[in-house]
Symmetry: C2
Subunit: 375 residues, 2 copies
Amino acid sequence: MTPGLGTRTAHQLIAAFKTPQAVFRASRSELEAAGVSPGLARSVASGCAFDDAVTQQGKLAEIGAELVPVTDPRYPPRLKEIFDPPPMLFARGRTGLLGSLLLGIVGTRRPTAYGTAAASRLAKDLAAAGLGIVSGMARGIDTAAHKAALEAGGETVAVFGCGVDEVYPAENRKLADQIAQAGLIVSEFPMATPPYPQNFPIRNRIISGMSAGVLVVEGGEYSGSAITAKLAAEQGREVFAVPGNITSKMSWGPNLLIKQGAKLVQEWNDVVVELKPEDRRRLVELCRNRLKLNENELVEANDSVQSSLVYGPASGTCRALLAVLKPDAPVPLDHLVETLVGQSPSEIIAALFELEMAGMVRQLPGKSFLKVWLD
Amino acid sequence: MTPGLGTRTAHQLIAAFKTPQAVFRASRSELEAAGVSPGLARSVASGCAFDDAVTQQGKLAEIGAELVPVTDPRYPPRLKEIFDPPPMLFARGRTGLLGSLLLGIVGTRRPTAYGTAAASRLAKDLAAAGLGIVSGMARGIDTAAHKAALEAGGETVAVFGCGVDEVYPAENRKLADQIAQAGLIVSEFPMATPPYPQNFPIRNRIISGMSAGVLVVEGGEYSGSAITAKLAAEQGREVFAVPGNITSKMSWGPNLLIKQGAKLVQEWNDVVVELKPEDRRRLVELCRNRLKLNENELVEANDSVQSSLVYGPASGTCRALLAVLKPDAPVPLDHLVETLVGQSPSEIIAALFELEMAGMVRQLPGKSFLKVWLD
């Protein structure tokens, strides 16, 4: 709440004085000695920000929101690594999602019907695979991504360019309430901050900063989503893009990103295969636990997940795979695709993922697969 | 015309006996000593193929077609390098095109309106840039590519899976006549060979073999064009693909190819920038000569190409570029894009290419550009 104190200087002062409390106890000359300008030193030392801070505390309590400082164990681990992590996040909703494996989905505010459909489909499938969907709750692609994640019963995080008690655009009030309930709203801007346009690009670094990667669905050549993709790449995040017809202006951005090295995404698994092995293991673990939960809920306790995979709807491909896979020699994906004539590679990959989630198949480096030995 | 004699064995026999004439003069035992089977040795030594060969000669003369053996200097240099080059090509039309810089454009026989439009647009632009467009004259994408190349006044080569005196599909009779007139039809199959379906995949290796690269426009996951792309990659050719909506079945093939490493093509220049430097120089030289021809045709002899670039329709970008470029220090493309606000990167690249073609700008490695010093 201190006027003139930015993210980088705040971090420098805390580094110099060890705690935020010590910063506010310091004299003007001590502050100037730490390298801040006389004006800012006056501003910090005056303590005039304390009244504003008290007001903020009241507002937070009113809507049941929380402050998550960078020192909080719940602070998103990936966000800490970026050049300028927010010293604290205002968080409204399930703060546990800050620790989830997250994926940003961004795109134009004026999508085509194709863009909206692609964003919805991919957000739904990725949320179902266990990824939390992060976006900016803007009109268009952002809104479609949040809604689809919620509908899939998955996790979603909205990063605001205004206070977490504000709603922008106004038409998304109901969605904001749903996200605050079933998901999470975060912002680095204090409560009651109006949606200043200049805050939106700043906000985008948090979307990519929290996430393992960013998926761009539609956007022009110099769109906000192209900027977010650039930021994501600079932060060392994986950049994904959904291709589209070269005759569609809204696919120009994603197609260009693919030309520049972004991974082309036709379906959810194209994202999952590019994640770091430890992240993929996390997803598998998550899905296995979820499946076990469902299993316990089953009336027939004996009808295990594993037998449902073998006798259930996707059973054909799963059974065929289990017949080809060996417990002692890994079989490469290419070989499986060649062997299982009549099944498309995407069906095979989906079935492998299901079997992996159920603990029946293990993936090895180089896209090879082992059958897990089951008694 | 010798029954049972395939491409590879024909090459082996010529290598063993030095000339085709010597092969036919050899005795059965000499042939068997060279490693061919007794049956084939009998077939070669019988000379019974000579009658058929005479018939072929007559048919060739009738429609003004020619035989281009692998030893002919006109034989496409790239085609010689593949695993199994045809020992001779039946050629009908402008045999000079065998030496042109060629690009294969292939795709489904059942394209969407988008696929047809994309194939036409890219074939037109690439033909205008000086590339000869090679395809198989099949329905759909092939037909669109040939037609667009002809309409652009460019070069096109149709590779047939039947004799060059046959037409398949029949509806393309007029197109075949146009190609025989303004372009070139080639085949490794003798005159009067009907369009056997099994010949089409064999024919595809010639499309990619003649070409610097192959551009796939639309096709399913296991389509003929996917096979051609695989062949092209095996032959060391560049593979290009036009992306499309992930909801379109016909874009599944090209999108998958891009995922596997094919270059995404939004516009003609995406192909040109990937060509080998010597191939690009050839295009520039070609276009420069063509522009000079046009220049001579101008009524005002003084109105040079160069001044038309500076005062003509694309003049804004060209003038702006010439103002920024230096004759002594190369300027990177990124810098040009950042500096020339208001012009899209594709406009800038197009203008740079025009200036390069006119000899006013020179491209250096690493996408940097120099102004050529002009008196």
